[in-house]
Symmetry: C2
Subunit: 345 residues, 2 copies
């Protein structure tokens, strides 16, 4: 009735504890035959390593490193806070984060190289859609350090897993929300991106355009504004655009820098429908105030949590937890999370 221990496995395989241990922990000096017997016993009895006991014996601590884009981006500030909080909560776990110049492949490569040889158990990196990182990524993983991509993916074969939302689905979701909110009437929609070299932005754009084209033919899209996630740039561009097109019925901002968008909107008499990404402080306020109507969020807490659980499973060599997919979540002013202060009782 109790789960089998390694001693049970050894007994069932007809070998000593030491040999069983050598097999499951790959310490070498075992014959093929012993290996087979032990492995058979393992699957037979359904042995699973008691990680708690193992960590206890080793005083095991985990160290995970996050590589995040630097800069004032509110979303990544949130990410940093979450990482800090998780680091204090999780047992035997230290979490570090390194700020890397945003969208800079060379800088990222240098930082990855700097991690080589360090005592690290896992790396989570906000990916870039570039191939020049392969040597460093594969080098780390060759040393047994799992690398997962977070929020924005790396090439598939260069990371153990991607933790983040499906950005095509996110774009489609935004399109359908705004489309439905036109109530079948025609409309003029302005799209606002950060940088189309970023994979997530491209994906969102693509999803949005697909759904509008397929299901909302009465809606016209104005030429895209690329705002580089820069508040000042965005405010200026949007103010101009709203002046030349006072009949804009909706805006979809698929990147960051939405403070600039708020500033542009607040100065205008029109109140188009607005959908943006990431429920950071100013987005929450704008939602409450009626400036924004939809916020699509990727639940960063869950992403960090999933990334950590996954990296632990990978180095513990344990079946990874059943992955609840990370889905874009829609916030209206009515289903906002309460302030963290007011704990639910």
């Amino acid at each position: 009735m109790h789960s089998p221990t390694l001693t049970d496995v050894a007994r069932a395989a007809g070998v000593s504890y030491a040999t069983a241990d050598r097999v499951v922990n790959r310490r070498g000096s075992v014959s093929e035959k012993a290996m087979r017997k032990v492995n058979a016993a393992v699957t037979d009895l359904g042995y699973i390593r008691n990680v708690a006991a193992a960590n206890l014996s080793q005083k095991r601590t985990y160290r995970f490193v996050f590589l995040l884009p630097d800069g004032p981006n509110a979303f990544f500030q949130t990410i940093r806070q979450i990482i800090k909080a998780q680091g204090q909560t999780r047992e035997n776990t230290t979490l570090d984060h390194i700020d890397v110049p945003a969208f800079d492949e060379d800088a990222l490569r240098a930082h990855l190289a700097g991690l080589r040889g360090q005592k690290i158990d896992g790396v989570a990196v906000v990916g870039l859609d570039a191939n020049g990182l392969a040597p460093e990524l594969n080098g780390l993983q060759g040393q047994g350090v799992p690398v997962v991509s977070l929020i924005s993916d790396l090439p598939h074969d260069q990371r153990a897993a991607y933790i983040g939302i499906d950005n095509i689905a996110a774009g489609k979701t935004a399109a359908r929300l705004l489309g439905l909110a036109h109530g079948g009437q025609p409309g003029l929609v302005q799209l606002l991106a950060g940088d189309l070299t970023a994979r997530d932005h491209r994906d969102r754009l693509e999803g949005f355009q697909q759904v509008i084209a397929a299901d909302f033919p009465a809606i016209t899209l104005l030429p895209l504004i690329e705002g580089r996630d820069d508040n000042v740039l965005i405010q200026k561009a949007m103010t101009d655009r709203l002046a030349t097109h006072p009949d804009i019925s909706a805006i979809y901002s698929l990147g960051a820098g939405n403070s600039g968008l708020i500033d542009a909107l607040i100065a205008q008499p029109q109140r188009p429908l607005v959908a943006v990404h990431e429920l950071v402080a100013h987005a929450k306020t704008a939602l409450t105030d009626g400036l924004f109507h939809f916020v699509i969020d990727q639940r960063p807490e869950e992403e960090i949590d999933a990334a950590l659980n996954l990296m632990r499973a990978l180095i513990d060599n344990v079946p990874p937890p059943p992955t609840k997919p990370i889905l874009p979540t829609i916030y209206l002013r009515d289903n906002l999370p309460p302030h963290p202060e007011q704990e639910s009782i």
Copy 2:
């Protein structure tokens, strides 16, 4: 640098390990003075019990019991599956569930009474808005067995916590989604409830009405249909209503029994906007097929997970995990979770 052990605490307090143990585990036979010294050392060093080690030494297993409404309700079938899956995943944990006649206070009381004296570490119960359960609930908690309410709340003072969504917020969310989707045009909206004696249904109704009244005055609400979550009843009532009011622009079904709603809709030429609750199989299909437009879900996986984490924290006498609030989540056809089969890589 390493977290202090009970031995450290004992040394700091100037007492033996045995005494420190007697204090932290409340075994009695300790003087006031010793108690103070030990407790001071505990807070001083920031001692936190190593639960893993403790469980290891005791071969501790946890047994949690869920009391769920019986019947064919697809949502609770899902809940049952999740509980089963979690029971297989979690270490040292057995999860049982007991089916209790739905909305039956006496039956629930009897089952709660039956749990007294059993070797149980925690109870999660789908609450009823009734006061007659107080003796049993308090009895269990008096024995040190935490009771949490799940999905539908119990009176506040009779449970340790409520794990579930804010149903008023859920109703408001539905209202705003449907309201916005009218694009400022007038509309005729049909509400469909299960049983207004159920707290969650009442709350959703209230939230919905509030938002419509406040922000969408052009929308008229038809008289509520109470369908008792019964597919046949619902199909009939809705078919009738659609016949007499072919100009219904939207439907909000705030309870269960949506297969009946689907059957009614499918036979009609009109395609009103439809918002329902809980992303069960048939709702997912209807969303994909365009019969439903919005599904508001409470993420049952997270609820079960949160309930289990909380109950563990309560009996381990450990600070409970930071509660991410459980929020109503909106699904469109575009942000549906992938099938569980196709694991994310």
